[in-house]
């Protein structure tokens, strides 16, 4: 593993990918969803959300299109690509390994 920032970035990517498995969503909804599902533990800052979304799009994991939102305004909806699904599987496996390893160390004491 590299620097701590990679861990955070990687985690956010994983969260975004996971959130998008069900439906296409716009940025605000993604942030909201992560907040709700985590029981308000995780608050995604806009400052990291949008750069992450655009980076994932540039890498081809997710794709974006404009559609009408629940309020009737045009919004940018993101959805997983097939490659994105595979990436999600890989990152999930990675995460499981990592968290298991950290758990092992933390519960040792």
């Amino acid at each position: 593993m590299g620097k701590p920032i990679d861990l955070v970035q990687g985690t956010l990517d994983l969260l975004i990918l996971k959130t998008l498995t069900l439906d296409p969503m716009h940025g605000w909804a993604i942030a909201k969803r992560i907040q709700q599902v985590s029981g308000d533990v995780l608050q995604v800052q806009q400052g990291s959300l949008y750069p992450a979304l655009h980076r994932l799009e540039q890498q081809g994991w997710i794709k974006a299109r404009w559609a009408e939102s629940e309020t009737g305004r045009q919004a940018r909806f993101y959805s997983l690509t097939i490659a994105g699904r595979k990436q999600l599987e890989a990152e999930t496996a990675n995460w499981s390994r990592l968290s298991a390893a950290i758990n092992l160390i933390v519960s040792e004491a």
């Binding site: 716009h26 940025g27 605000w28 800052q45 806009q46 400052g47 949008y50 750069p51 992450a52 979304l53 655009h54 980076r55 799009e57 540039q58 890498q59 081809g60 994991w61 794709k63 404009w66 939102s69 309020t71 305004r73 045009q74 919004a75 940018r76 690509t81 097939i82 490659a83």
Partner: protein, 893 residues
């Protein structure tokens, strides 16, 4: 399948970047709106909801930038932004921009042109098979008197060549060629013309790897028997025979004899010179006994190395054989050694030095131009230091700032380079045309390599002129830069030092150029004003050759020549006429061994006396103003049996008749002996003043024989017509006399004697003028740089000077202070330049004629000129500073 999505995203951010940008703004705005809505749903007032949402959202501009940073093509985008910015900054100061572009264009244009010539002449391989293995072999005499700079590569005698070829084994093959010249006459009344030709051995073209386009090369039999066959060069084939291949197999008339055309050479074959129009077999037109001589030096030998054999061992064999032949022929001038050099080097020998010199000079000019642009850029950077400091404080990385400035200098260099290459296209054409003795075996043109060279120059110029200012202007910490702006009394000491250092370099390089130019110019003036020992103004000269077919006896030749002289003498405006073989300043001609009959025989192995041979008609010396020192001139009676008379030059008398009277003594010229046994012995009847055969070369002992005697002169004659007024005005009437006497006889080289001498100076005037032009341009650049630096310095010190004046400093003191400040780098540069110049002039020593490399007058003149120009450049800003109104100066910020 990841790449289609990736590609789509990348394309979107590349081609629809501004739309993607506005969509991003929209997306972020949507997020903000939803936050506001949520806040209001939670019961906040509209204003409160908006403020809370904004607080949560953070800095929208930063967020947008951070998001955009995740897009591809960011470096491209910032590059474009820098380009746009630089373009805008440059167009805001059109004066600076145009001057810099012009400076760079001039420097790159000149460098590109010179490189084009250097590449064609020195670097590009000749269009032959494997030219790296081709060498030229020459004879070499050990006697130091015979090793004058231009003659230490002695042409090869035919018998030497035949022996080398048959008896050494280091070379795959050897071929030889010799000079020839023909009168080409038409069969259907075309104008007759004199054409330059070469006689080449049958194996020459196969050895070079050159295949005739039409027809074939010479056969061994044709060469051995000296058959009348010819191969045309492409230019003659196109020009005279309208490019019709049917000429192959037909006869053309050379010197009145039919020659069968057997082949046509390819278009790119212009070896050894593009003047050559026709090739005949080596032996054709050469008497068979001459081919058996070891002492008739008239051939050039081309050899191809055997693969795997070193040049040193191959030439050592030839050298050893040559020494044997020397020992076997001690009573004849047969060289001791054989030496070789590469075929390209052989062709470029005369121009190599001047070319490299000019290349060095333009290199210096390019350096000065770049330094100047760098200096101007530093001044601009100084004016923008606040902007740089603010950008730095806002978080711009240093590389970003450096890149921004580099792009500015790159823009200038690219614009200048493009203009310079356009300039060099015509400059190269002019140079190739104006440089008379440039070898023409290769065409000189701009090609891919030259363009690549120009691009490299552009990059180097951009780096050189941009990197230094960029690094220096961004080196300061933002803090100190901001601090030093508000009210400065003396600013940016470091940057001023840098500018002064650049100026010092500029000035020292300029001094070196000025010294070189001064020396070359002085040498050229010396050459130009050399007394050749004869009258050269108002003299028309021309050459003609009486073909043996028609003028088979001496009587027929005499009849033609006498009739011609009488007719020309009768023309209005003609003062005198001279008939000879080679006129003063007209070239070497030839030399022969002489023996004084009244002296004891020369001991074998000693240096044999020799003299250049010339013919002269009775009026020759008077017409050309050559003084008679003793005895008499030739008379009309010196012909036939009475014609074994000779006139010698002062130097011959001094060298071979020291302390005795040569008149009445006899000279024996063994090379002219009749094969049937009669010795060629001549009685000396007169002694005349020395004439130079070529300006810049030392005097040679010379012997003259009467023009109306069979003096082994061959068929070639030179006519000189001295006129009262413009000699060229008489050229048509004189040529009409030729046409009247023999309509099939062409004349050549119709020139004034001054022109002939000017031509023999070769490129001396051209290189002197060009180096001077480069030096003057460099001087202008350096003085502009000096002026700029001092003006900038004065402006920076306005407040300080105001304070000084307010405190009572005299104007004169201020003037002196500022002048000295500007002159100091000039003085440093001058001293450095003089020292560097003293070292550099060694390199051009061999190009100087009667001029010492360390000529004190030139060095003093250069120093004076430089100081004067520097003082002038410094005076205006210093004067302006001294006239400052202290009140205004103190209020200026």
């Amino acid at each position: 399948m990841r790449w289609p999505h990736q590609l789509a995203a990348k394309l979107r951010t590349l081609f629809a970047r501004s739309r993607a940008g506005s969509q991003l703004d929209d997306e972020l705005r949507f997020h903000l709106e939803r936050q506001v809505e949520e806040n209001r749903a939670a019961g906040m007032s509209p204003e409160e909801a908006r403020l809370a949402a904004l607080r949560a959202f953070g800095n929208p501009a930063l967020l947008r930038d951070q998001t955009r940073a995740s897009w591809s093509w960011n470096s491209l985008e910032s590059l474009l932004r820098d380009l746009r910015l630089s373009f805008r900054t440059l167009s805001r100061t059109p004066g600076f921009t145009l001057v810099s572009i012009a400076v760079i264009a001039l420097c790159i244009g000149a460098s590109t042109s010179l490189f084009t010539v250097v590449r064609s002449v020195l670097l590009r391989p000749l269009p032959f098979r494997d030219p790296a293995h081709l060498v030229m072999i020459y004879e070499h005499f050990r006697a130091p008197e015979l090793n004058q700079p231009n003659y230490d590569w002695n042409p090869v005698a035919p018998a030497d060549y035949f022996d080398w070829r048959a008896r050494t084994h280091g070379f795959e093959d050897m071929a030889a060629w010799r000079y020839a010249q023909f009168n080409l006459t038409g069969v259907r009344n075309e104008l007759p013309e004199v054409i330059m030709a070469r006689g080449g051995t049958y194996n020459l073209f196969p050895l070079l790897g050159v295949q005739p386009v039409y027809g074939r090369s010479f056969t061994e039999d044709e060469d051995r028997l000296g058959k009348n066959v010819a191969i045309l060069t492409w230019s003659l084939f196109e020009r005279r025979f309208s490019g019709d291949p049917a000429i192959v197999g037909q006869a053309i008339h050379l010197d009145g004899k039919p020659f069968t055309v057997v082949g046509i050479l390819p278009k790119d074959f212009t070896y050894p010179d593009s003047d050559v129009q026709i090739w005949v077999p080596y032996a054709t037109g050469v008497p068979p006994d001459v081919l058996r001589h070891h002492d008739f030096h008239f051939s050039r030998v081309v050899a191809r190395l055997k693969p795997g054999v070193s040049l040193a061992s191959a030439i050592a064999q030839v050298d050893a054989l040559q020494y044997q032949m020397h020992l076997q022929n001690l009573s004849a001038p047969v060289a001791e050694d054989a030496v070789s050099r590469g075929i390209t080097e052989d062709l470029s020998k005369d121009v190599r030095k001047p070319l490299l010199l000019l290349m060095g000079a333009v290199g210096c000019m390019l350096l000065i131009g770049c330094l100047n642009v760098a200096n101007l850029l530093i001044a601009r950077a100084a004016a923008r230091q606040k902007e740089v400091a603010i950008r730095g404080a806002l978080g711009a990385r240093r590389w970003t700032l450096v890149r921004g400035q580099l792009i500015e200098s790159l823009l200038i260099s690219v614009a200048g380079g493009a203009l310079g290459v356009a300039l060099s296209l015509s400059a190269t054409k002019w140079l190739a045309h104006a440089w008379k003795n440039l070898p023409t075996a290769q065409s000189i043109h701009v090609d891919g390599t030259v363009l690549a060279f120009a691009c490299a120059l552009v990059l180097a110029a951009a780096l050189l002129s941009g990197l230094l200012p960029a690094i220096s202007s961004t080196a300061k910490s933002a803090f100190s830069a901001m601090q030093s702006t508000a009210r400065t009394t003396s600013a940016g000491l470091g940057r001023t030092t840098l500018r002064k250092a650049l100026l010092t370099i500029e000035i020292s390089v300029t001094v070196v150029l000025l010294i070189a130019a001064g020396l070359l110019l002085k040498s050229f003036v010396r050459l130009r004003t050399t007394d050749v020992g004869a009258v050269t103004s108002n003299v028309l000269t021309l050459d003609y050759s009486l073909p043996a077919e028609k003028y088979s006896t001496q009587e027929k030749m005499n009849a033609f020549n006498e009739e011609l002289l009488a007719r020309v003498r009768a023309l209005p405006g003609v003062r005198a006429v001279a008939l000879g073989s080679v006129l003063p300043g007209g070239g070497y001609g030839g030399d022969d061994i002489i023996l004084v009959v009244e002296h004891p025989p020369i001991r074998p192995g000693a240096l044999l006396p020799d003299a250049m041979n010339r013919i002269a008609d009775p009026g020759y010396f008077q017409a050309l103003g050559i003084p008679l020192l003793h005895g008499r001139f030739f008379t009309a009676d010196d012909r036939g049996a009475q014609g074994q008379k000779m006139i010698i030059s002062r130097l011959l008398a001094e060298k071979y008749f020291p302390g005795e009277d040569p008149i009445g003594k006899h000279l024996h010229v063994p090379a002219w002996d009749d094969p049937k046994g009669a010795q060629a012995v001549y009685e000396i009847v007169g002694e005349v003043g020395d004439t130079l055969y070529q300006v810049g070369q030392p005097d040679m002992a010379t012997m003259y024989t009467p023009a109306f005697v069979d003096a082994h002169n061959g068929p070639g004659f030179a006519l000189a017509v001295r006129t009262a007024t413009d000699p060229l005005a008489i050229s048509i009437p004189v040529q009409k006399q030729f046409a009247a006497l023999d309509p099939e006889l062409p004349v050549s080289n119709v020139l004034t004697l001054d022109q002939v001498i000017g031509q023999s100076l070769g490129s001396a005037d051209l290189s002197a003028t060009l180096v001077l032009a480069f030096a003057v341009l460099s001087l202008i650049l350096a003085s502009v740089g000096l002026y700029g630096v001092l003006s900038y310095l004065a402006a920076q010190r306005t407040v300080e000077i105001g304070v000084r004046i307010a405190l009572g400093a005299q104007r004169r003191q201020v003037l002196r202070l500022m002048l000295f400040d500007g002159l100091r780098p000039a003085l440093f540069g001058l001293v450095l330049g003089l020292a560097a110049g003293a070292a550099a002039v060694r390199l051009i020593r061999s190009m100087l004629y009667e001029t010492q490399p360390l000529d004190p007058a030139i060095f003093a003149a250069v120093a004076a000129v430089l100081l004067l120009v520097a003082a002038l450049a410094c005076f205006t800003p210093a004067w302006r500073a001294a006239r400052l109104d202290p009140m205004q100066a103190l209020r200026s910020e």
